[in-house]
């Protein structure tokens, strides 16, 4: 399959792809893009955090108001957004009248909202909040703890409890994760591996889509450029396809190795020390599995993308053919991302052995939990079998497709190509 002619094609692909400006730009751009998306998320989160708010805290009892005022004044002053308070004594029956008074101000957002703490709240902690946007969890999460503290304190006053007992009652439960794995040592689990699994999933997703699209447009270009028949006078269609895919796969592997090189340095040297909560449980075998899996994924998906490219002779038409393949990448991507909350959920377990999905989900799973070696080998065997099958089928369509120009073929016609004796 790989011979002198294939090698020449591979060489040209590497020359065009690996030693090009585009390669350098994309290698830099994808991590920047990734960080950008993560950063944007954090920014949006913090941006709303930074909004100024003006709240009216109303209660039936002056005592509650005084306590809350003291507690709220202890709140840290954010420079990117302050919550200001006004305190007033209000009877339960008068809430409606009061709200009518300030309705216009609330709608114009001069007043963010009114918190009403009834006397009942001292027994059941039910507080009412009136606002244009009553579901602003960021704001509520900020003011909940002080109010909770006041209500708890007041509830226990005179109940003969020590300060420590009170503190204990107010404390939330804190879960410290320990990972049980085959090696007997029990380690405290940080969020390092969760971040890593997100990183692996995201890198796989992005680079498969990018290289796939690139391969597809390269095939379309060869077809519309009409160079393909010149090439076929020297090489067979299978040699051409194999060469293109191997060349692109090598380029993508090099790119991935560059992206992962910080990780390799991190786990193989002691140059950098991560804070304990970010500690990674990662070995070089883990990275090798990731690369092997990536290579199989590349050959599988590039075969599919090249096939779609060969069927159509312009990128617009190709968009209709590319959707099914994108789904094969996007759906596992979401399963893998969703799995981060519970890596052992049933869907993730099954999907990590399903053809195509396995290629994206298994690397994320192995980062989060220990997978028995047998299961890993099984997934690799499944994936290699699918890869070979796809490669054979893709070749059959490719050899017919690249020589057909003009009318956009129907799917029923494409199915017939399998049987063609080209």
């Amino acid at each position: 399959m790989v011979n002198r002619r294939t090698f020449s094609i591979v060489k040209r692909e590497l020359k065009v792809k690996l030693f090009s400006r585009t390669f350098i730009i994309m290698t830099l751009l994808i991590p920047i893009f990734m960080l950008g998306i993560m950063g944007l998320q954090t920014f949006l989160f913090q941006y709303s955090d930074g909004e100024n708010a003006f709240l009216i805290v109303a209660s039936e009892s002056q005592n509650v108001l005084d306590n809350i005022q003291t507690e709220l004044s202890k709140m840290p002053k954010n420079k990117d957004g302050n919550v200001e308070f006004m305190f007033e004594k209000l009877d339960k029956q008068k809430i409606e009248t009061r709200l009518n008074n300030i309705r216009a101000d609330i709608l114009e957002e001069k007043i963010t909202g009114l918190i009403f703490i009834s006397d009942q709240a001292l027994k059941n902690k039910q507080v009412e909040y009136f606002s244009k946007n009553p579901n602003n969890n960021i704001l509520l999460n900020k003011i909940k703890p002080p109010i909770n503290k006041v209500l708890t304190d007041m509830y226990f006053v005179g109940k003969q409890l020590s300060r420590e007992e009170l503190e204990f009652a107010k404390d939330d439960v804190d879960f410290n994760g320990f990972r049980i794995s085959a090696d007997k040592e029990i380690k405290e689990e940080g969020i390092g591996n969760t971040i890593l699994s997100f990183l692996f999933t995201f890198l796989l997703y992005m680079s498969l889509l990018f290289t796939g699209q690139m391969t597809m447009s390269a095939v379309i270009e060869e077809k519309s450029n009409k160079i393909v028949e010149v090439l076929l006078s020297s090489v067979s269609s299978r040699e051409l396809m194999t060469g293109k895919i191997i060349g692109t796969a090598i380029t993508a592997l090099v790119q991935m190795a560059i992206w992962l090189s910080p990780l390799i340095i991190l786990i193989s040297t002691t140059w950098f020390v991560l804070p304990p909560e970010f500690t990674l449980k990662l070995s070089i075998w883990h990275l090798l599995f990731f690369m092997l899996n990536y290579f199989i994924a590349l050959i599988t998906f590039l075969g599919l993308f090249a096939t779609v490219g060969s069927i159509f002779d312009n990128p617009q038409d190709a968009q209709s053919g590319i959707w099914p393949i994108m789904m094969l990448i996007i759906i596992p991507f979401f399963i893998a991302i969703g799995m981060q909350t519970n890596p052992e959920n049933q869907i993730a377990r099954i999907a990590s052995f399903v053809p195509f999905a396995s290629l994206i989900i298994m690397p994320a799973r192995i980062t989060l939990v220990d997978i028995p070696l047998l299961q890993l080998v099984l997934s690799i065997i499944i994936n290699i079998a699918v890869m070979i099958l796809i490669f054979i089928l893709a070749g059959k369509i490719y050899r017919v497709g690249i020589l057909i120009t003009g009318k956009k073929p129907k799917w029923s016609e494409v199915v017939k190509w399998f049987k063609y004796n080209y």
Binding site: K226, I227, T405, N421
Partner: protein
């Protein structure tokens, strides 16, 4: 021995017979024209000869053995639909295409440069293909087809879309390669080119080979051996002439059929020698175009 032998090639596309039991022979050292109108099956035949399509049945024999992948290395191929990588540089393109044929190294580079010089493109060797004019891109395609010094040149509709300068250039290449003893096979629907360049032809219509052989033999076979004569004088001496096949007197005109087309001149000489006053003497050598129309036209009249 023949250079190439095409034996009973057939190819179907979705039940439509593109090529139907086509057989022909390409002799050593010949310029071979595959002639037919658009859609007759020329490109499909050539693609099967190039091993780009697998025939449904039949085979192509190269000097006694069936062709395979190694045949491609011996061929310089210029497809009808031809293009180059737009972003690739001229010299890189030429070297890449030669490498696919198994030729690498300084020698190829030197040769490529010589060709570029000859075609006035030497100073463009580091230009990108897309920066070249269409005519110059075509020149690069010619060079790519002959750079690896192939034994066979297979050109599919080579003159389609060429300007007069490149047409002449390509003709020169064909003649030069003929001098070197290479086998040149080209397809065309342009009868004049076929007539001027080729010494052997095969005519294809509706996927079938309807005529093949040496051009001169075909022409003499199809040349109109009939002469229409309007003359005053005694014509009885014609009956005893060996080269005259038949004489038919229609009163005002006499139809004479000679044994071979070239003998019409002898006939004219003889008439004058015998003091016949010739008023009208009509004899034509037939053109390939007429042969084609006669054969293909007849074909379609048969309800094919």
């Amino acid at each position: 021995m023949y250079a190439l032998e095409v034996k009973n090639l057939s190819k179907n596309f979705n039940g439509i017979k593109a090529v139907d039991d086509a057989s022909f022979i390409v002799p050593e050292g010949s310029v071979f024209g595959l002639i037919g109108r658009n859609g007759a099956g020329k490109t499909t035949t050539i693609r099967m000869m190039m091993n780009i399509y697998v025939p449904d049945s039949g085979e192509v024999i190269l000097r006694g053995t069936k062709i395979g992948q190694e045949f491609k290395d011996k061929v310089g191929y210029l497809p009808e639909e031809r293009g180059l990588y737009k972003k690739m540089k001229v010299m890189d393109t030429l070297l890449f295409l030669a490498e696919l044929k198994g030729k690498t190294g300084k020698e190829v580079e030197r040769k490529a440069l010589n060709y570029l010089k000859r075609f006035d493109l030497a100073e463009r060797k580091n230009s990108k293909i897309e920066d070249l004019s269409k005519g110059n891109q075509q020149k690069i395609q010619f060079i790519a087809a002959i750079l690896h010094d192939p034994e066979f040149l297979i050109f599919d509709e080579p003159f389609a879309g060429l300007d007069p300068i490149n047409t002449d250039l390509l003709k020169d290449i064909i003649l030069e390669k003929k001098e070197e003893g290479k086998v040149i096979i080209f397809s065309t629907h342009l009868m004049d080119f076929a007539e001027k360049l080729s010494d052997h032809i095969a005519m294809i219509d509706h996927g079938k080979i309807i005529l093949q052989g040496s051009l001169s033999e075909i022409k003499s076979e199809f040349a109109q051996r009939n002469v229409t004569l309007e003359a005053v004088g005694d014509l009885s001496f014609l009956d005893s002439e060996a080269f005259v096949e038949k004489v038919e007197n229609f009163g005002n005109t006499v139809a004479i059929k000679v044994k071979e087309a070239s003998q019409t001149q002898d006939l004219l000489k003889l008439l004058i020698q015998n003091d016949v006053k010739v008023n009208k003497f009509a004899a034509n050598e037939i053109s390939l175009h007429e042969i084609f129309v006669t054969l293909a036209g007849k074909d379609s009249n048969n309800g094919k």
